[in-house]
C-alpha cells in the first residue's frame, strides 16, 4: 500500500517510503542534511525554506513529500556552486544584502527563480519576486540592489 516516492534533489535520486504527508523540509534538513533550507514559520508564509521544484519557486515547509513524485528539486546547496549561484552569492555579499542571514538562502532561491525567468528585472519586478520572502533585518533595499547587481554582473548568464 505504501507507495515509494522517487524524486531528485540537487541532481541525486531520492527514494522516500513513509508517510506521504511528511514535510519536504524535514526530508531535506533531517534526512539529507541540507540545512541551508531554513524553517522560519512552518506555514509557507516567510519564504526562508524556499526551494526550486520543477523550475518553480515553492516553500518546502508546506509541500508534502507525496507531491514530489518525479520532481526535480534544487536547494541552495544545489545551486551555490553553479555559475548562477555564485553570481548571486557574490552579489548578495558585495551588495550588503546579508544581515542575520536566516532569510538569505531562501531569498537567493527567489532571486534565482526571478532571474531565470526575467534576466533584466526592474525594481518593482524584483520587489514582487521577493515579496514572499520576509526579512526582518534589512528593510529590503540592499537585497533589491544586490539582485539588480546579480542581473547586471551575470548578463548573458541569465539569458
Amino acid at each position: 500500500m505504501l507507495r515509494k516516492i522517487v524524486f531528485s534533489v540537487n541532481g541525486s535520486r531520492v527514494v522516500f517510503a513513509g508517510n506521504p504527508l511528511t514535510r519536504l523540509i524535514d526530508v531535506l534538513r533531517d534526512e539529507l542534511k541540507l540545512t541551508g533550507v531554513k524553517e522560519g514559520c512552518g506555514e509557507g508564509e516567510c519564504g526562508a525554506c524556499s526551494i526550486i521544484k520543477d523550475g518553480k519557486l515553492v516553500t518546502s515547509c508546506i509541500i508534502p513529500v507525496g507531491a514530489c513524485e518525479g520532481s526535480e528539486i534544487y536547494t541552495i546547496e544545489g545551486i551555490r556552486d553553479t555559475e548562477k549561484g555564485k553570481c548571486l552569492v557574490d552579489a548578495f555579499r558585495d551588495g550588503g544584502a546579508v544581515q542575520c542571514g536566516f532569510c538569505i538562502p531562501g531569498m537567493v532561491m527567489a532571486a534565482y527563480a526571478l532571474l531565470s525567468a526575467n534576466p533584466n528585472p526592474d525594481e518593482n519586478a524584483i520587489r514582487m519576486a521577493i515579496s514572499g520572502n520576509i526579512c526582518r533585518c534589512t528593510g529590503y533595499d540592499l537585497i533589491v540592489d544586490s539582485i539588480r547587481l546579480a542581473a547586471e554582473r551575470g548578463g548573458d548568464l541569465w539569458q
Partner: protein, 712 residues
C-alpha cells in the same frame, strides 16, 4: 589589502557563508544520541495548579519540572532581578509560563505526549491591560498596588505653578501596543555535556547573561557552564534575556538525563510564548501660553511589564529619560510606572523603552502645533536641545547637536515645506516629520559600576584574534569590530579573527544590547589594538583591557540625576503618504532619514541598519498588531501578525550627519536602536494630515483609521 581608511566600505565577513547556507544556526546542530525537548506551558493566565497529570512515559522519555531542581539549586532565573521562575510551581502567572519539559528521542511521540498532559487549575481573574493592573483586577499580582517599578525626574519650576498660570493645558493620552520581534530564526538551543561540563549552544545576544542566569538552578557557579553562541538569526532584544527561559529548563533536564537535548521553538511558540515590546500609555498635560508656547510638560508613563520584572525597570527608565524627545522644554515632570499584569513578561526590544515615549511626545507636539496653526516640524524645531542644554535628568548635552542641519537635509530632499503647505488636511496626501535620539550604552554609570566590560586581543604570528563576549546577530558587529581593530593595527582585516563567543574562551564584554557594542566594546578593543601596535615586534602576546569611564559624566543612580547617557545618537525622519479614501489603505510614497551616529564605522553596514530599523518602526506604526484577550495573545503566526514585505514601503533616501564622538572608536557612537526610534511618528503625522484625523494609538491599520475618521 590593508585598510588605510576607516571609510573604505568593506564586505561583511559573515555574508558569504550565510548566503551559501553554510552558517550554522541552533536548529542546524545535531549530536549523536540527541534527544528533543517540548515545553509544557500554562494555558491559563492566572491561577493555582491543582494537579499535573503526565501520561505514562515510554522508556527514554522524561518529564522535567520544578521537582527536578536539585537540593542547593533555586527555581529562579537571574536576569536583572531573580523573580522569573524557571518552572511554574504551585501557581501560574501568565499564559505560556513554563511548567515542564518533555524530553525524548522521537518528536512524534513528544507531540503525542504533550497533547496528553493534563493540568488542572483553580483559575483566578487575570489583569491583562495597564488599566486592569491599576484597577487591581483580580487582586494585586505584586505588592499591594501592582507597581513593579517606578521613578520620576523633574526639571525646572514646579508643575503646579506652571499649570496655574498657563493659558491652557492640553491633556492627551497616547498609547502603543505590543510588538513581537519576529526574528526570522525562532528561539532555540541545544545542551550537551563535554568533558564533564554543561555546554549550551544557543541563539542568544548575551552568552554571559545566560550562564549567570541559569547556574543557580543547579547551585553552580556561572563558570561551571559553557555557553557557545550559535549564528543568531536576528534578535532585536528578543534574545537578550529570553534565551534564559530556554536554557534554564534545558540545564535542569541535562542534569537528570546527561544526553544532548535540543529545544527549538516553532513559530507559533515563538509568537505566543515569548517576550514582547512593552505596551505603553503616556498621559501628557502640557501647559501652554496664548501663542502656543510650551511652559511645561507633566507626563505620566505606564508600561505593561507582564508578570515578572525581567528588564522592565531599566526599560522604564529609558522610557522616562526619552519622554521629552530631542527638546529642551523649560520644565518637565516625568513619572514612570511599570505595572504587573498576567501577560507574558515584556522585555527588551530595539529601542528599549525609548520608542514608546518618543512616539508619544512627537505625536503630542504635532497635535499642539496643528491646534495653533503651526507647521509641526517648524514648531518642534523651536525646542531642539543644544549643546549644554539641560536634560530631563538635570544633566547636560555634551555634544554638538546637529538637528537643524539634519532637518534641512531631509526637508530639502523631500521638499517638505512645499508639500506641507500644498497638501491640504484631509486631501488624501500627507507628509510628516519626526525627530528622535537614543542614549548610547547603559544608563548613567552602568558601564562603569555594573558591566565593567573587558576585551582581549591575542597575537600569534601575524594574525590577531579578537576575544570578546559580544555577539553578531545580524547587525554587523563581527565585521565592524574586525575593521576597527585592523584599522588601529594597520593590518589587513583578513588577518583578524573573531568567532562567535564561547564563554570559556573569551572575557565578558557585557551584553550585546543598548547600542553599546561599537561604542563601548569597540573602544576597548581599539585601545587594545593601539597598544598591540606599539608592541607589535614583541612576538606572540595578548592585550586585555577593561572599560575606562570618560570623565565629566556625573550620575546618581539613586535619584536619577545627572548625565543619563554618555552621548546620544540623533535622528530625523520624513515620511510621505497617500491614502486610498475608498479603503483607508496607506501607501507610503517617500521615506527620508538623516542620522547622526558620530562617525560611521562602515557605511554599507549602517545603510542596512537604517533601512531595517526604519521599516521595523513603520511596521510598528502601521500593521503590527498583537492583541491580548484575557491573557492570550490572539496573533499566533506570521500570517496573522504581519510584518512588512518588500512591497510595503518604497526605497529609502538616507543621510548621515558626521559628528565624530570623542570617546568612541574612530569617532563612532551607537546606532542599532536609534534607527528604530522615530519613523513611526513621522508616518502617523503624515497619515493624520492626509485624512484630517487624530491618532493617539498605534498601530493604525485601515480598520482603526475607520474609527479615527468617525471621531474626526
Amino acid at each position: 589589502m590593508p585598510i588605510n581608511c576607516i571609510d573604505d566600505r568593506v564586505v561583511r565577513v559573515d555574508a558569504e557563508a550565510k548566503a551559501r547556507g553554510e552558517a550554522m544556526y541552533a536548529s542546524d546542530y545535531s549530536f549523536p544520541d540527541m534527544l528533543y525537548a517540548r515545553m509544557i506551558r500554562s494555558d491559563i493566565p492566572r491561577g493555582t495548579i491543582d494537579s499535573i497529570s503526565v501520561p505514562q512515559l515510554p522508556e527514554g522519555y522524561y518529564f522535567i519540572s520544578a521537582k527536578d531542581i536539585p537540593e542547593g539549586g533555586k527555581n529562579e532565573l537571574w536576569m536583572i532581578a531573580k523573580d522569573w521562575r524557571c518552572f511554574a510551581d504551585g501557581d501560574v502567572r501568565y499564559v505560556g509560563e513554563t511548567i515542564g519539559l518533555l524530553v525524548g528521542p522521537d518528536r512524534n511521540m513528544l507531540d503525542y505526549l504533550a497533547s496528553n498532559v493534563r493540568i488542572s487549575y483553580t483559575e483566578q481573574e487575570p489583569a491583562v491591560t495597564i488599566d486592569d493592573a491599576l484597577a487591581l483586577k483580580g487582586g494585586p499580582i505584586v505588592g499591594e498596588d501592582n507597581v513593579l517599578c517606578s521613578l520620576f525626574c523633574e526639571k525646572g519650576e514646579k508643575m503646579q505653578g506652571i499649570m496655574d498660570r498657563a493659558d491652557s493645558v492640553f491633556t492627551e493620552t497616547i498609547e502603543t501596543g505590543f510588538q513581537e520581534h519576529v526574528h526570522l530564526e525562532t528561539n532555540g538551543a541545544v545542551i550537551t555535556m563535554e568533558d564533564g561540563k554543561y555546554v549550551i549552544y544557543i541563539s542568544a545576544q548575551c552568552p554571559f547573561y545566560v550562564r549567570k542566569s541559569v547556574a543557580g538552578l543547579l547551585g553552580l557557579q556561572p563558570e561551571d557552564i559553557i555557553i557557545r553562541q550559535t549564528t543568531t538569526g536576528g534578535a532585536f532584544g528578543g534574545k537578550e534575556h529570553f534565551p534564559d527561559v530556554l536554557a534554564g529548563p534545558l540545564l535542569v533536564a541535562e542534569s537528570v538525563i546527561q544526553k544532548p537535548i535540543k529545544l527549538i521553538f516553532t513559530r507559533e511558540e515563538d509568537m505566543l510564548y515569548s517576550v514582547k515590546r512593552h505596551p505603553s500609555k503616556t498621559i501628557f498635560r502640557t501647559a501652554l501660553d496664548k501663542e502656543g508656547n510650551i511652559l511645561g510638560i507633566d507626563g505620566t508613563i505606564y508600561y505593561n511589564c507582564g508578570a515578572y520584572l525581567s528588564a522592565s525597570y531599566v526599560v522604564l527608565q529609558r522610557g522616562v529619560f526619552h519622554a521629552n524627545g530631542v527638546y529642551d522644554f523649560p520644565a518637565t515632570y516625568l513619572k514612570g510606572v511599570g505595572v504587573a499584569t498576567n501577560t507574558f513578561p515584556s522585555d527588551a526590544f530595539r529601542g528599549f523603552g525609548a520608542p514608546q515615549t518618543l512616539f508619544a511626545i512627537e505625536t503630542h507636539l504635532d497635535h499642539i502645533a496643528r491646534k495653533f496653526g503651526f507647521d509641526p516640524a517648524e514648531y518642534k524645531a523651536r525646542y531642539f536641545i543644544k549643546k549644554g542644554g539641560e536634560t530631563v535628568t538635570n544633566g547636560h548635552i555634551v555634544e554638538e547637536v546637529k538637528l537643524p542641519e539634519m532637518m534641512k537635509k531631509i526637508a530639502d530632499a523631500s521638499d517638505y515645506f512645499r508639500k506641507s503647505k500644498e497638501y491640504a488636511i484631509g486631501s488624501g496626501k500627507g507628509i510628516g516629520m519626526s525627530f528622535y535620539n537614543h542614549g548610547g550604552a547603559f544608563t548613567g554609570n552602568g558601564e562603569q559600576a555594573i558591566i565593567k566590560a573587558h576585551a582581549r586581543l591575542v597575537k600569534s604570528g601575524n594574525r590577531v584574534r579578537i576575544e570578546v563576549g559580544s555577539t553578531e546577530m545580524g547587525q554587523g558587529f563581527q565585521t565592524a569590530l574586525r575593521k576597527i581593530v585592523a584599522n588601529a593595527l594597520k593590518i589587513d582585516m583578513e588577518q583578524v579573527d573573531y568567532d562567535n563567543p564561547d564563554t570559556s574562551l573569551v572575557p565578558d564584554s557585557g551584553p550585546t544590547a543598548a547600542s553599546r557594542s561599537t561604542m563601548i566594546v569597540g573602544k576597548i578593543a581599539e585601545d587594545c589594538a593601539l597598544e598591540m601596535k606599539e608592541r607589535w615586534n614583541e612576538g606572540d602576546f595578548s592585550v586585555e583591557k577593561e572599560y575606562q569611564h570618560p570623565d565629566g559624566h556625573p550620575w546618581d543612580q539613586s535619584t536619577f540625576r545627572g548625565d543619563a547617557y554618555l552621548g546620544y545618537g540623533w535622528g530625523a525622519a520624513c515620511v510621505e503618504v497617500e491614502v486610498d479614501k475608498l479603503t483607508n489603505e496607506v501607501r507610503t510614497t517617500g521615506i527620508w532619514t538623516c542620522h547622526e551616529i558620530g562617525h560611521a564605522i562602515d557605511e554599507l553596514i549602517v545603510h542596512g541598519q537604517v533601512n531595517g530599523g526604519v521599516i521595523q518602526s513603520l511596521g510598528y506604526a502601521s500593521m503590527e498588531k498583537m492583541e491580548n484577550r484575557n491573557g492570550h495573545f490572539r496573533q499566533s503566526s506570521m500570517s496573522d501578525y504581519v510584518i512588512p514585505t518588500s512591497m510595503d514601503f518604497p526605497r529609502q533616501e538616507w543621510f548621515l550627519e558626521d559628528n565624530p564622538y570623542q570617546w568612541g572608536p574612530q569617532g563612532a557612537k551607537g546606532m542599532g536602536e536609534l534607527v528604530f526610534n522615530g519613523a513611526d511618528a513621522a508616518y502617523v503625522d503624515a497619515v493624520e494630515r492626509a485624512l484630517g484625523i487624530t491618532v493617539t494609538k498605534i498601530p493604525i491599520p485601515p480598520e482603526d483609521i475607520e474609527e479615527a475618521l468617525e471621531n474626526a
